[in-house]
Amino acid sequence: MEKVETMLTEKETEKPQVPEFVVRFSVLQRLEHFVAMFLFLVLAVTGLPQKFYQASWAQWTIIFLGGIDWVRIIHRASGILFALLAVMHLGTILVGVLAGRIKPILIPTLKDFRDAIQQLRYYVGLSDEHPQFDRYDYKQKFEYWGLAFGGMVMITTGFILYLPNLATMYLTGELVPAAKVAHSNEGLLAFLVVIIWHMYGTHLNPDVFPMDTSIFTGKISRERMLHEHPLELLRSSASGSHPMDGGKGRSLEPQLAASAPARLQSANTPDQSREISSE
């Protein structure tokens, strides 16, 4: 694999007028993350005390929030909103993909697994090169699909628990306690992933400490882009515009644009080129 990063850095020193930041997330995506984050927080704060209700901290939280009845109302209302958000997200993607406006670039590819292995080899010192990522690296894809599948489990089981009368109309009653076990464990898992993995990735990770603001401002520094998503940067240079730029045609790396396609060809594995060829 060619060292794209090194080459880009060389170019940067030659051309200091290149924009410092890259727009990585659209306003809608930022808003979506914000709403999801807010609902996740509310759901965790009102959900975990229900799971561990015999612990004193849980009882304190429940009483602080006005009692179990209020906690349940808040939890269910946020759950319904979360389900709506999920439906909107899914709908947007489905329509976008069908209309050809969105490419399903979050779908895991063989490269992601190779990247993960390469990353681990790099971590343990078996390799001196860490993998080069495109718009979303394997960790981000893992989190996205974790949230997607976890969210589906939470929404389905949540509605079973919310409407047990309806759920048991045709299905076995045992589904309700099973849904409760799944809901409470899946919720705990989601919470742990966010607290451990997401908080590390976006706050404690020395690369971004104290906070990765890109999902709120939409902007990411060129330096980080270079380090974390070099292939995307290259690709946008090649096509002359950033993928999230709304097609306004702002070139990030005009100087690179000419030679980019050749580099991409060599940096990417064959299965990846399918995705980026039309960008």
């Binding site: 009692g67 681990l120 048991t168 109309m169 009653g173 309700v176 306690p177 076990v181 799944a182 898992l189």
Partner: protein, 389 residues
């Protein structure tokens, strides 16, 4: 010796006795003075420091006998009656045998309780009816049994009396007057005592698994009325706070491993209840100090209150065939599938509720696997960064 001389002697000895007791009593009173002052400030009933309590068995043996004999001189034979302005006529006969074999037979004298009757002839009574006399008389119990007396002040019965319902029971209605026996000695009698007023509930209780066991089999493991309702501080069982305590009430026996082992009953019933939606809500309502009527099911809603039947019997509400009707009482017109949503106090296992069991098992493996992997990834990242430096 004439009656009057005997009485004077008796009173003299009583006074000496009181003096002795008073010296002892004073120490106790000094200790309680601070508390008493605080209680008085708070408007609570003052400590019983009025007339010192009567002497107990210790020093009154012989004189007591003779004093009782004095009273029995008149009250020991048939014929004496007392008429109240209400028109009631009451026999004044006291069976000496009965009194002697009562708990107070050896320790108390007639006038210890009948304090108004120390003079002969007795002063004119100022009450209009027999009940009024009893109500006035029961004050004398509290001079010795103050703790239990104060408990009754919190009871639903006292509440009724204070509202003017004079039929509500006081000490003597349950314990008797001259023939008081230790209440623990005849466990079955406790419920029969309550039955004098609560006949319908007693009938229902006597048909229940608990009632049958004690009334027909003399089994003392089962609860009698007072085990659930208390003996003195009997609360209105229809209140929210009583309802919230029901699971703990039942669990006080049903979590007792030794007692339940005899009958092959699971002691997991409380834990499995608390695992479930209903139990959790009730437990939290209790923590919150919930004051409205909790609409969540407690033990008695499915198992019955006084008419509890074994869950294996056809009469049981909680029996599988009947359960859907029990659920429908609160959950509307739910289907036959609905009752299976409640695990019937079972811990999920491969045989009982396998779906729940395997989902639980899956997460028990899946969560540590995922979280462990992520933590390992983070550690490796940190480690590489540290070695790069």
């Amino acid at each position: 010796m004439g009656i009057h001389e005997t009485l004077t002697l008796r009173l003299g000895s009583l006074r000496r006795e009181w003096k002795k007791r008073w010296l002892w009593q004073r120490r106790r009173i000094l200790c309680l003075a601070a508390g008493g002052a605080a209680m008085a400030l708070l408007g609570m009933p003052p400590l019983p420091v009025g007339p010192p309590p009567p002497a107990f068995a210790s020093g009154t043996g012989d004189t007591g006998q003779s004093a009782a004999e004095v009273c029995l001189g008149c009250h020991g034979s048939e014929g004496m009656t007392l008429s109240f302005p209400s028109g009631e006529t009451v026999s004044l006969l006291v069976d000496p045998q009965k009194f002697a074999s009562s708990v107070h037979g050896k320790s108390l004298n007639c006038t210890d309780c009948h304090t108004g009757a120390q003079e002969i002839p007795h002063p004119q009574l100022k009450v209009k009816s027999r009940r009024e006399y009893t109500l006035a008389q029961y004050e004398s119990c509290k001079r010795c049994h103050f703790a239990n007396y104060t408990k009754t002040l919190d009871s639903v019965h006292f509440d009724l009396i204070s509202k003017g319902e004079m039929r509500a029971p006081i000490c003597m209605d349950c314990h008797g007057a001259h023939d008081i026996q230790r209440s623990g000695e005849h466990r079955a009698r406790i419920s029969q005592t309550c039955a004098r007023c609560h006949g319908e509930i007693y009938a229902s209780y006597s048909r229940s698994v608990h009632g049958k066991a004690i009334l027909n089999g003399g089994n003392t493991d089962v609860p009698v009325c007072t085990d659930c309702h208390q003996s003195h501080s009997i609360e209105d069982p229809r209140t929210a706070s009583f309802r919230l305590r029901i699971p703990d009430l039942c669990a006080s026996c049903h979590s007792d491993k030794v007692r339940m082992k005899k009958y092959g009953i699971s002691t997991n019933v409380l834990d499995t209840y608390l695992e479930d939606f209903h139990g959790m809500t009730i437990a939290l309502y209790r923590k919150q100090g919930f004051t409205q009527k909790a609409l969540q099911a407690v033990c008695t809603d499915c198992h019955g209150i006084h008419d509890i039947q074994p869950t294996t019997g056809p009469g049981s509400l909680a029996m599988k065939a009947n359960l859907v009707k029990v659920c429908q009482r609160c959950h509307g017109n739910v289907s036959e599938n609905f009752p299976a949503a409640w695990l019937s106090h079972y811990e999920p296992s491969p045989k009982k509720f396998p779906l729940v069991y395997y989902v639980k098992l899956m997460y028990r493996i899946f969560i540590p696997f995922v979280i462990g992997g992520l933590i390992l990834h983070i550690i490796l990242h940190v480690w590489r960064m540290a070695t790069n430096r």
